[in-house]
């Protein structure tokens, strides 16, 4: 059974590109447009990995990440933070909150897909 990936971003075009890439890699994909929606999908969709944008209205990626890690049932979920803010401190903060990887926009599609593979155990 294909592993599931949840894509969380408020930029429609970025979502489109991510959706295409991850689907092409053979994963099952769901989309969330903001933090609230993301949390709902985490319980409904039970993703194995989340591509999580940081700068979102209402609930930021950091907060979403923190809430997921607070729930013991979701400890296994892999989280890759995506952000357009490239400062060192933001990467540190993301990792400290429990993200497994941190990717700066604009990203290399190859590297991102490779990272997803790596975190999901390299099986396609």
């Amino acid at each position: 059974m294909a592993k599931r990936v949840l894509i969380v971003d408020d930029e429609p075009n970025i979502v489109t590109s991510l959706e295409f890439l991850i689907q092409r890699s053979g994963y099952e994909v769901r989309i969330a447009r903001n933090g609230e929606e993301a949390l709902a999908q985490v319980s409904a969709f039970q993703p194995d990995l989340i591509l999580l944008d940081v700068m979102m209205p209402l609930l930021s990626g950091y907060e979403v990440c923190q809430k997921i890690r607070e729930n013991s049932a979701w400890q296994h979920v892999q989280i890759i933070m995506l952000t357009a803010k490239g400062r060192e401190i933001e990467a540190t903060k993301g990792l400290a909150l429990g993200a497994n990887a941190y990717v700066t926009k604009p990203f290399s599609t190859k590297d991102l897909v490779a990272k997803v593979h790596e975190l999901l155990g390299g099986t396609t």
Partner: protein, 936 residues
């Protein structure tokens, strides 16, 4: 009942109480818990001013001259108002330079002159003798009168009684003994007399109570209050005249002069100086004394007129002198206890005066007259004596006896003929001679030694010639014929003592005052201005006049230069202070200097100055200087050097003021810089935020562009549709990126003021129509209803047409973006006001929450329906629009309620009314008529 033994026992019991109080006061002072250190005791002790003269004499004066008794108390009341300026300064000077008497003060001020100190002492002693005589007379007369009770009669004329059986002599001897034991008990002569001050304050209380008791008895016991007394008195024409200014009560001139004289007396009587200055514990007590003392004077004078009138009305004329009405009235009404109380009150008034006056005089005589002379007598070898404090006490005791005996002699000579008050006024006139030298000395640096010396001498001579001499001549004593007074010496009428140089028709006191103060002040000023001042005079003048500035600075030590040996100085101090006190003083000095022990002391200028101050406290400034000169080798400073030091001091003061000012300016500048720095930091933080935000905004479209480019490149197998979709996204995101970059640059240009504005007269209606037509496509696509309300014609505004267009397009596209998705409606209107045009753009979207209405004008702050799509745009449109409108002198704002749409409005001033010139580089493009229009 009033036998002599009762009177004597009560009197001695009273003196015993005084002793007890003084003893207690001294004990407390030794224990460091002063009982006199409060303003009330200070004010009460100042009432030593009220002597037998006040207690008995005022009534006598009032009975003869009515309100003529008043100036003696009005003068001091007036003077008390000036105490803060005059007395406080004298006190500060005296404390700083350890001045012990009025002679010491004058001597010290004019170059520590022994000559001047001696002269002042002589004037004081001679001048005060009549005053002492007055007290002796009052005590012995009241004693005699009381002894005759129940008969009321005057004692026999002194001339008729042999000296040996004259009670006054015994009173004098008794008072001398009392004062010696009382005031010079201590070997420790440097201390102030705390016990004495306490006893004097008590005496002031006793005499006040006794006088008030008689007053109440007479006014409310014998009569039915003040009104009744005056009613009885005014029934008699002679008596009612006493209440007016007329020949009996004295002329206005006499009144004024007596007031003036009393003003000086309260300051310069040796005993007042002693109490007010030397015994002052705390400068701030003057503050309260300034009103308490006049209050005391008022209280002790309030019954003077009623008693005087009652005496005149009830006591048969000729039986008793009015001076003794106070005592005679209770006797007349068989009030024995009251009479005894009055007698005790009289004793307190007299003893208080005698004690303080003789102690003050004895200090002056020993310090300023005898010691300086003795110390110069090499053959006495005094300077080699190990301890001279005993000798000092002997001199003082001798002085006390001498002064009282002189007082007695004066009484024998003239006492029986004159009333109490006229005797006292002679003394007042004598001490008034100190006024020019002291007042000039503390306020005028120009006052010189020769001026003071000659002025005092002349004033004293005139006083002696016009007041003392005639009073003696009238009695025929000293072989002086009374014709000197009536016809002038050698028959020269111009030199008659009571009408000098033909100045006639004044009372004797006024006459003396006018002449003596005229020559005194004239000589003081004249010789001060014309003579040369020595170095030490310059020094002292500055130290005195600038006392309030000097206190903080180095003081007197700055003016000393020389060499001294520590051993000599220590020996010298030991000799006058007593060895143990000297060591104590040095130990205190060592501690103040912060040294660990006295071996570290250097005989430097400061120590020499300290030693001199210590000596001055014991033997007076002038003697101290003489003594010091024997122990140290001084290199005298020249006048020019002293002037240089003073000059430097004032330069240092000016410099320090400048420094203070500079440092304040510096502080202010620092504060400004700090504020500016904070502002810069804030700006820097804002810039950081801005750059961070801009980067974020740039990265977002870039992310899409790169991602789709890579997808297209990596997946050549993509279907055409998808390929076209992705390419379209790349194009859109590239456009977005371009737009963003343009707007950032645009905003930065506007904010930095580098934007170019093509300002012309613009028809706003036309601009609105143009912008509507260019967005009509958008309205149609989204099926948005458009309501337009434009007037036919509006006056022009001054603006850049393209920029206005930019603002309108921004507002319209925002409205389209946010208006209702299905039933979109937008209304655009334009109105002309009196001096401006107003544009409103209204949508029917979700509206903007009040808390967001401000932040939407911030950069990159977008607010929208965030649950759905992110609003498209850069977040820079509104900030740029606001900048543009502000630049044209208008305002841009929003009014909105949640769920009720939003209205963005702006105003622009009409071209004819825009009163602020619009700064732009295209200004020269305006045509001349427009400029004229604007000016009109």
């Amino acid at each position: 009942m009033l036998q002599s033994w009762i009177i004597l026992v009560v009197s001695f019991a009273y003196l015993g109480i005084l002793f007890a109080i003084a003893y207690y006061g001294d004990k407390r002072a030794d224990a460091g818990r002063s009982i006199i250190s409060n303003p009330y005791i200070y004010a009460l002790s100042l009432a030593v001013y009220c002597t037998s003269w006040t207690f008995y004499g005022s009534v006598g004066r009032a009975a003869n001259t009515g309100i003529g008794f008043l100036p003696i108390y009005l003068g001091p009341t007036l003077m008390a108002i000036l105490w803060w300026f005059v007395l406080r300064k004298i006190v500060r000077i005296s404390k700083t330079y350890r001045i012990t008497s009025i002679a010491d003060f004058i001597a010290s001020r004019y170059g520590k002159s022994t000559l001047l100190g001696g002269l002042v002492t002589i004037i004081a002693v001679v001048g005060i003798i009549p005053y002492i005589a007055l007290q002796l007379k009052a005590v012995s007369h009241t004693f005699s009168i009381l002894l005759e009770y129940p008969a009321i009669m005057m004692p026999a004329d002194v001339d008729t009684i042999p000296i040996i059986s004259d009670k006054t002599l015994y009173v004098a001897i008794l008072l001398a003994a009392f004062t010696i034991v009382f005031g010079t008990r201590h070997l420790d002569v440097t201390e102030r007399h705390e016990g004495m001050v306490a006893a004097i304050a008590f005496e002031s209380l006793v005499k006040l109570l006794a006088f008030l008791a008689v007053g109440l008895f007479v006014t409310f016991g014998l009569y039915r209050g003040f009104g009744d007394v005056f009613a009885h008195a005014t029934a008699n024409d002679d008596f009612s005249a006493l209440l007016l200014f007329n020949e009996t009560t004295g002329s206005y001139e006499s009144w004024a002069w007596l007031n003036f004289l009393s003003m000086l007396a309260i300051m310069f009587l040796p005993r007042q100086f002693q109490i007010a200055v030397v015994e002052n514990v705390d400068e701030s007590h003057i503050n309260k004394a300034m009103w308490l003392f006049p209050l005391y004077l008022l209280a002790i004078n309030i019954f003077v007129l009623p008693i005087a009138f009652a005496g005149l009305l009830q006591l048969p004329a000729g039986t008793i002198e009015p001076d003794y009405f106070v005592l005679a009235l209770p006797m007349l009404h068989q009030q024995e206890s009251l009479a005894l109380l009055v007698f005790i009150g009289g004793i307190s008034a007299a003893t208080g005066m005698v004690i303080v006056e003789t102690i003050a005089l004895s200090t002056m005589v020993s310090n300023d007259l005898v010691m300086p002379v003795l110390l110069r007598q090499k053959w006495l070898r005094l300077t080699e004596q190990p301890d001279l404090s005993g000798l000092l006490l002997h001199i003082r005791r001798g002085t006390i006896i001498l002064v009282l005996l002189l007082g007695y002699i004066y009484f024998r000579l003239i006492g029986s003929q004159s009333a109490l008050v006229s005797i006292g006024l002679v003394s007042f006139a004598a001490v008034a001679q100190f006024a020019p030298a002291i007042l000039g000395g503390i306020f005028w640096k120009g006052g010189s030694h020769s001026g003071a010396l000659i002025g005092l001498t002349l004033g004293f001579v005139v006083w002696g010639y016009t007041l003392l001499l005639p009073s003696l001549a009238y009695t025929g004593s000293f072989w002086l014929p009374s014709s000197i007074v009536t016809e002038g010496p050698f028959g020269i009428a111009l030199l008659r003592p009571y009408a000098l140089f033909g100045l006639d028709g004044l009372d004797h006191i006024t006459h003396t005052l006018i002449w003596s103060l005229l020559v005194n002040t004239g000589a003081y000023i004249g010789f001060s201005l014309s003579g040369k001042h020595s170095a030490v005079e310059h020094t002292q003048a500055t130290l005195f006049v600038d006392i309030f500035q000097q206190s903080q600075a180095g003081g007197g030590s700055r003016f000393w230069r020389g060499t001294a040996s520590m051993v000599d100085l220590r020996t010298l101090l030991g000799r006058f202070l007593g060895p143990s006190r000297a060591e104590e003083a040095i130990a205190g000095y060592v501690e103040r200097r912060g040294l660990s022990n006295s071996d570290q002391l250097e005989p430097d200028a400061e120590f020499v100055h300290f030693a001199e101050m210590q000596l001055a406290g014991t033997i007076g400034a002038a003697s101290a200087r003489v003594m010091l000169a024997s122990a140290v080798k001084e290199e005298p400073l020249g006048t020019s050097e002293v002037m240089q030091i003073l000059e430097e001091a004032s330069q240092v003061r000016a410099y320090s003021r400048q420094l203070e000012q500079k440092s304040q300016e510096l502080e202010a500048a620092t504060a400004e810089l700090r504020a500016a720095n904070e502002q810069l930091k804030e700006l820097d933080r804002l810039k950081d935020d801005f750059i961070s935000t801009v980067t974020h905004e740039l990265r977002t479209p870039l992310t899409s562009i790169r991602a789709f480019s890579e997808i297209l490149s990596d997946h050549p197998d993509l279907e055409v549709e998808q390929r076209i979709k992705f390419l379209n996204i790349i194009v859109k995101e590239s456009e977005r990126l371009t737009r963003l970059i343009n707007q950032v640059l645009d905003l930065s240009k506007i904010e930095s003021g580098n934007a170019k504005w093509n300002i012309v007269a613009v028809d706003l209606k036309e601009v609105i129509e143009d912008s509507l037509s260019s967005t009509s496509q958008l309205f149609n696509e989204k099926h948005i209803q458009l309501h337009v309300d434009l007037p036919d014609h509006v006056p022009p505004v001054k603006a850049d047409r393209d920029r206005l267009m930019q603002v309108l397009l921004n507002l319209l596209s925002n409205a389209v973006k946010f208006c209702d998705k299905t039933k979109g409606m937008i209304a655009v209107s334009l109105h002309a006001n009196e001096d401006s045009l107003r544009v409103d753009v209204r949508d029917n979207g979700p509206g903007i929450r009040p808390e967001d209405q401000r932040i939407i004008f911030d950069k990159f702050r977008q607010v929208g329906d965030t649950l759905t799509d992110k609003p498209q745009g850069t977040g820079l449109g509104l900030p740029i629009s606001r900048h543009i409108i502000n630049h044209f002198g208008g305002h841009l704002w929003v009014e909105s309620m949640p769920d009720a749409g939003a209205t963005f409005s702006f105003t622009l001033p009409l071209a004819a009314h825009s009163d602020q010139p619009i700064v732009c580089i295209h200004e020269q493009m305006w045509d001349a008529t427009e400029v004229i229009d604007r000016a009109s």
